[in-house]
């Protein structure tokens, strides 16, 4: 309490350690970075929610095309505004940590890509996903023809049950064959 550096109770710390893939140091660092986002008023309150726009000022997320989706996926807010508590923030970092398993990573990746939160990746989700990757500028954006082609190819490759959408198991099947997904699906503060 006396030091500004650490106001995280020991028992809480160990509890977080149990519940995440993060180490003690990573949790303390995350706490430090998170508290920096707080205003003075908010520091006095526990479980303060940090709005998404302030979260997205973090350089690690600032450039990520899926930053908003990431915030929404990890947000426990009832308003679905993408605001994060410290625990949500830890969840985020945990999923993107080194130690997280492929299954967890692919699960969260699927949720991130599932823009309409309906449990499957349909054509609309894929289109938004591609648009996020390519950006919104005209020169980089795919033409509708290319987009249609791309989506049909993706579905042809991954849609094993031929229902026109990619479900979680199909997605995980594809992801698990990728040599570099685990190494790229990381966020380190």
């Amino acid at each position: 309490m006396g030091t500004t550096a650490s106001h995280l109770p020991k028992d809480l710390l160990s509890e977080y350690q149990e519940l995440t893939f993060l180490t003690k140091q990573e949790i303390l660092l995350a706490h430090k970075r998170f508290t920096e986002l707080l205003t003075k008023d908010e520091k006095d309150h526990q479980n303060t929610r940090v709005p998404m726009d302030r979260i997205l000022t973090l350089p690690e997320l600032k450039s990520n095309p899926f930053r908003k989706r990431i915030c929404h996926v990890f947000s426990t807010s009832e308003h679905k505004d993408g605001s994060l508590t410290f625990e949500d923030f830890l969840d985020l970092l945990s999923a993107f940590s080194d130690s997280a398993t492929l299954e967890i990573k692919s699960h969260y990746a699927f949720r991130i890509f599932d823009f309409d939160d309906d449990g499957t990746l349909d054509g609309g989700d894929l289109e938004k996903l591609v648009n996020c990757l390519t950006g919104e500028t005209d020169d980089t954006r795919l033409t509708p023809e290319e987009m249609r082609q791309l989506i049909s190819n993706i579905l042809e490759e991954s849609d094993i049950d031929k229902d026109g959408t990619v479900n979680l198991s199909e997605f995980q099947h594809v992801i698990s064959r990728s040599p570099d997904f685990v190494s790229s699906f990381k966020i380190v503060l």
């Binding site: 309490m1 006396g2 030091t3 109770p9 020991k10 350089p59 690690e60 600032k62 450039s63 990520n64 095309p65 899926f66 993107f96 990746a109 890509f113 894929l126 996903l129 591609v130 990757l133 390519t134 950006g135 980089t140 795919l142 290319e146 082609q149 791309l150 190819n153 993706i154 042809e156 490759e157 991954s158 094993i160 049950d161 198991s169 199909e170 997605f171 995980q172 099947h173 594809v174 992801i175 064959r177 990728s178 570099d180 997904f181 790229s184 699906f185 990381k186 966020i187 380190v188």
Partner: protein, 990 residues
């Protein structure tokens, strides 16, 4: 705690701080209290704390220091206990890990499979299949092979099991066990498969292999979330866009390359090619099986290639076709996963189609082999000879053979009977009823050659699986190993890169290889039921028979003549000759008998041939039996001797046959008897003594069913109804076994002697010949066959041995078959003997113990004989015998049949018979015993008529003594039918 307390220490010594410290300390104390060792000390500390509270800050600070130490101490305790827990957990983990490692050691090949890794799934599946097969082997081994332990009789074959409920000395119900184990194996396989399928169903969707997710990866896995630098993110985004566009363009170019129309036409073409290759493979299999059938019929000895042609071709198809499909699949330009599925489906269809077409072709072959015999005249004579042989073997072999061969025989016999029926219809015109019987016999002989069809199919499957394995190993060696060596060591001296271009390294295609495993397992499952054990004995006997037939074919006639002389001198020699001839005769007779019941006939013939071998001079008999087999398959070799007789027989048989064939229904019983016969042969081969025990066994088995002879008769009777069943029981075997053998032997000798012509043993021939040339001899000849039959029957009946001494003529009188038989007999030997017979014989020199039911015999015999010239005489004789025969029913040996048929006809004409009867009667008495045996058969089917030709009067006497009243009656029936028959025959033949 320590971390919390530290800031306190660092901060001002406020009350709140002290309170906090206090509470911390209390908390720690509570925790500490758990450790009883330190309770006392904790109390002291409490006191100290209270003092501290009341003292100034300095003391407080000291106390705090003290408390801090305690806290550290507690913390140590706490961490230590927690350490124990974690240590325990770790230990558990390690233990489980060690346990798992140990368990892994006991899972076969687990370690090796882990090393292989890349294609582990294939080997895991292979291991799973291996485990299943081990269990199947244990099941059949523990409950079928071990309890009885007679592998030499091929307990594992369907053919081993007849109607006998218990096999072996311990009363172990082997047939029941066989059935239950079969069901258990089926249930086990089913459950295992079901469980595995349920387990894998979830994974199946996502388990596609060999996939390429170009687009998915370029989208889903494109972003590197570690990127925090805006510039890096920008360049990364640009790279991603380029990647995606690149992939899209590639895909579009692919599609542009081949228009939709071209693609569709290509795919249609590919499917047509695949269908063509599938149809071609099926046709090739059919063609090869057909070819092998022709080769077997044309050549006595097959080369190694000819023997294994079918298996090699099938293996080649299974090896080459998948590769061809793969080439074809490249035309279709499907996505790799789609093409893989097409490939697997096509290969699966190929494998299944190959198996089905192979089995269907083999069954076709079995059918045609059994049916083809009747068509050929030569076959007829052969069949007759077979019948004669069969009759002898029946006694001994019935028990063993019946069990093994029964199943297969039934099938064969059914086919054979059908064919025989047809034949009979064709030939029946020539000589009324006799032809039918002969036809049946022929069919039987063929079926005998085929052995059990299950055995045959099993052998083919085994061959196929073995050769398939050889091909697999060879392909691994040649295509993969040597190719790998060439690619690795010659790539330097080549102008292109061997490793990445043309030859490349062999690729292990898991999917295809797994399918191949399934294919092999399918063959194993079929083996379980068709070839549970390699029918060593059957194969061996077959081979032996073929060999003997080849060698003996040429020698048969010579031997027959020699035998005739020898027989006159030595009954044994006669017996030997007789067995051969008898075999042929018996087979023909049996065939005829079987004709009513096609299945049984075929089986019977097979059995008979082996049996006969044993009974007659062992070597001779064996050769004869082989010859019979050869005849069936090769026809030429065995038939040659019989052929001379054949024409005659044919004529006679043909007339007779048609009716008997119609009677066909009785076949089942017959088949059983035949089965018994088949079993006996092996025994016979080794020793007469052996044959005897076998015979006894057979007899046992038969008894339950009905004595083998009886069974046959019954079957005939049952099927035919009115038509009498003619069971030719060779007395030779029974003689060996029983006293009958002694009496019979003389008869046989007599038979042989009398009929130099008789060499043809085919029932008709022998009988006829004796009739024509040497009445006495002829009777003997006919008798031997009949006797054999009667003996068999007797043996079957276990000494009941009611042989109707009535000569062959008397045997079959009952049914149409009887009539046919007489005709047949005449045909075989007729040509030669008939002339002489006609001249010499109508005197009742030939004594044919016709042991048929009087009723049947009468009706049939009348028919046939009525047609024939000497009907009156024969009929009289036969009729006289008929009553006796009818009672006994059994005596229908082919020779006997011929005689019997006359007798049967005669019974109708019984009035004339009395004259001949007295002559015949003496022999008949002996034959009566046989007839008595047949009477036991009667039990099964009263309608069935078994004609036992008792050549030796002595035998008859003995048999009579044994059989008692029945025998006497039969002996009465015994007539010089031969003479009359000979006349008839002559007429028919001429």
């Amino acid at each position: 705690m320590s971390t919390v307390s530290e800031p306190l220490v660092g901060s001002s010594r406020s009350l709140s701080a002290t309170k906090r410290h206090k509470s911390v300390r209390k908390n720690s104390r509570r925790i500490y209290s758990a450790y009883q060792d330190h309770e006392g000390s904790s109390d002291d500390e409490d006191k100290d704390d209270e003092r501290v509270d009341s003292n100034d800050p300095e003391e407080m600070f000291q106390n705090i220091q003290h408390a801090r130490e305690i806290v550290l101490k507690y913390e140590g305790r706490l961490t230590r206990t927690r350490g124990y827990q974690t240590a325990g957990a770790d230990l558990l983990k390690k233990l489980s890990r060690v346990l798992y490692n140990v368990v892994v050691l006991f899972i076969p090949w687990e370690v090796r499979i882990k090393k292989i890794e890349s294609v582990a799934s294939y080997f895991i599946f292979l291991r799973w299949l291996f485990g299943i097969n081990i269990v199947l082997t244990i099941m059949t081994g523990a409950f079928i092979v071990l309890p009885e332990g007679y592998l030499q009789y091929s307990v594992l074959f369907y053919g081993y099991y007849g109607r006998v409920r218990k096999i072996g000395s311990a009363g172990y119900r082997l047939p029941l066990a066989y059935f239950l184990v079969g069901m258990a194996v089926f249930a086990y396989s089913f459950i295992i498969l079901l469980r595995k399928m349920a387990k894998n169903s979830r994974l199946s969707l996502a388990s596609a292999s060999d996939e390429n997710f170009t687009f998915c990866w370029r989208v889903f896995c494109a972003w590197d979330y570690l990127i925090g630098n805006p510039e890096a993110a920008e360049s990364k985004g640009a790279a991603i866009v380029n990647n995606i566009r690149e992939a899209i363009v590639e895909e579009q170019e692919k599609k542009k390359d081949t228009s939709l129309a071209v693609l569709i036409s290509l795919r249609i073409l590919a499917n047509i090619l695949v269908l063509l290759s599938l149809a071609g493979s099926i046709y090739i299999i059919y063609f090869v099986v057909d070819r092998s059938q022709k080769l077997e019929q044309e050549k006595p000895e097959l080369t190694l290639w000819e023997k294994n042609e079918v298996s090699v071709v099938v293996s080649l198809i299974t090896m080459i076709a998948p590769s061809a499909f793969e080439l074809v699949a490249q035309l279709e330009m499907y996505h790799p996963r789609t093409s893989l599925r097409f490939q697997l489906a096509r290969v699966l269809v190929l494998y299944l189609g190959n198996l089905y077409s192979l089995i269907i072709a083999l069954l076709d072959k079995v059918n045609s082999m059994s049916s083809a015999v009747p068509v050929n005249p030569g076959n007829w004579s052969d069949s007759s000879a077979f019948l004669a042989t069969i009759s002898q073997p029946e006694v001994d072999s019935l028990s063993t053979l019946v069990s093994d061969i029964s199943v297969s025989e039934h099938r064969n016999s059914t086919i054979a009977t059908i064919a025989t029926v047809l034949d009979v219809t064709n030939s029946g015109r020539s000589s009324a009823g006799t032809s039918n019987q002969t036809a049946l016999f022929e069919k039987n002989t063929r079926s005998q050659q085929d052995q059990c069809w299950e055995t045959y199919v099993g052998q083919e499957m085994l061959k196929l699986s073995i050769i398939d394995m050889i091909f697999t190993v060879a392909s691994i060696l040649l295509i993969d190993f040597i190719r790998g060596l060439v690619v690795r060591y010659l790539s330097d001296c080549c102008c292109w890169d061997l490793e990445s271009k043309f030859p490349e390294y062999g690729e292990f295609k898991i999917a295809e290889n797994v399918l191949h495993l399934i294919y092999n397992q399918g063959m194993i499952c079929m083996l379980i039921y068709y070839l549970q054990a390699i029918a060593r004995s059957l194969k061996f006997t077959n081979n032996q028979l073929r060999m003997q037939l080849q060698t003996e074919r040429t020698e048969d006639k010579k031997k027959v003549f020699q035998m005739a002389a020898a027989r006159l001198q030595a009954p044994e020699a006669a017996a030997d000759k007789k067995p051969d001839q008898q075999e042929s005769d018996v087979t023909s007779q049996e065939a005829s008998v079987h004709t009513p019941s096609p299945r049984r006939n075929g089986s019977v013939t097979n059995f008979q041939s082996p049996v006969r071998r044993g009974n007659s001079i062992r070597t001779i008999t064996q050769s004869a039996s082989r010859a019979d087999l050869n005849r069936g398959s090769v026809a030429g070799s065995v038939r040659s001797p019989a052929v001379t007789i054949l024409p005659k027989h044919r004529l006679e048989h043909i007339p007779n046959r048609p009716p008997p064939f119609l009677g066909g229904p009785g076949g089942t019983c017959r088949s059983k008897s035949y089965h018994h016969m088949a079993y006996n042969p092996p025994a016979r081969y080794p020793d007469n003594i052996h044959s005897d025990p076998l015979c006894r066994k057979t007899v046992r088995s038969i008894h339950p069913v009905e004595a083998a002879g009886i069974i046959t008769a019954q079957s005939y009777a049952g099927r035919r109804g009115h038509t009498t069943r003619y069971v030719i029981v060779n007395e030779h075997e029974p003689r060996k076994k029983l006293l009958r053998s002694a009496t019979r032997v003389p008869r046989h000798y007599l038979m042989e002697e009398s009929a130099e012509i008789l060499e043809l043993y085919p029932r008709n021939i022998k009988r006829y010949a004796p009739r024509n040339t040497h009445h006495q001899l002829h009777p003997h000849r006919s008798h031997p066959s009949q006797q054999h039959l009667s003996e068999e029957e007797e043996e079957e009946e276990e000494g009941k041995g009611r042989r109707r001494v009535s000569l062959g003529k008397a045997h079959r009188p009952r049914s149409l078959s009887d009539l046919h038989q007489p005709a047949h007999f005449y045909i075989g030997e007729r040509a030669e003997s008939h002339v002489s017979m006609a001249k010499d014989s109508r005197t009742a020199q030939r004594r044919y113990g016709v042991q048929e039911e009087d009723e049947e015999e009468d009706g049939e015999g009348e028919m046939d004989w009525g047609d024939l010239e000497s009907h009156s005489r024969f009929q009289a004789n036969v009729r006289g015998a008929d009553p006796l025969l009818v009672r006994t029913r059994r005596h229908i040996h082919s020779p006997g049949r011929h005689f019997q048929s006359p007798a049967r006809t005669r019974p109708m004409e019984s009035h004339v018979k009395p004259k001949t009867r007295p002559k015949l009667e003496t022999p008949l008495t002996e034959s009566d015993s046989a007839s008595l045996a047949s009477s036991s058969d009667q039990q099964n089917s009263s309608t069935d008529q078994y004609i036992q030709v008792i050549h030796n009067k002595e035998r008859y006497l003995k048999s009579e003594a044994r059989q008692g009243k029945l025998a006497k009656k039969k002996s009465k029936t015994g007539f010089d039918i031969n003479q009359s028959e000979s006349h008839d025959l002559v007429s028919s033949n001429v």
